[in-house]
Symmetry: C2
Subunit: 106 residues, 2 copies
């Protein structure tokens, strides 16, 4: 059993306006994001499967030539290797789950 308290974990501003806190299990990484309105994570890809859980606000994901506009309660599965970008349409709070764990976020 490993406990994390996101209140005590320093936030990392991965790109301007995109603030992440990370918790790792042996096989998964949870990323708790606060994305400012208009902030954008540029197009990137990774081998990890990603599940985007939107908790608050509106997030836009662009991938495979399409846009997904996600609100509270939206869940989006991004398979490993698919280039995608994310933009905060409004300030938003998002919890991403990655498999396998993100060594690059440790």
């Amino acid at each position: 059993m490993i406990q994390f308290d996101m209140k005590d974990i320093p936030s990392r501003e991965c790109v301007p306006g995109v603030h992440g806190k990370f918790a790792h299990s042996p096989n998964m990484t949870m990323a708790w994001w606060r994305i400012e309105e208009g902030a954008q994570m540029p197009e990137h890809s990774h081998e990890h499967e990603q599940v985007v859980n939107v908790v608050e606000g509106t997030l836009e994901i662009t991938a495979e030539g399409k846009k997904w506009t996600l609100g509270p309660g939206s869940v989006l599965v991004i398979p490993g290797g698919v280039p995608h970008l994310a933009r905060g349409v409004t300030e938003c709070r998002v919890i991403d789950a990655f498999y396998p764990a993100r060594e690059d976020y440790k």
Copy 2:
């Protein structure tokens, strides 16, 4: 890319007061729970690794003879095979990530 909207997914009351909605990726399952105050998921275990993400309210997890009292921002890793029970101290909203995917929740 697979999109789920939890607003459109029917809730399953797994035990009285414990309401779950499920979204599956190839390797993970997300469970969005609304747990009523005082409701309890009895002790159980599963081979799946579980990461508990508390979004709102207070949740108590009991495992290995200890209690964890979790609030918003708490993240708890429960390794596969560890018996645990969960109780809503207040009404709470929790997102669990499981690896591998929960075939029993499909």
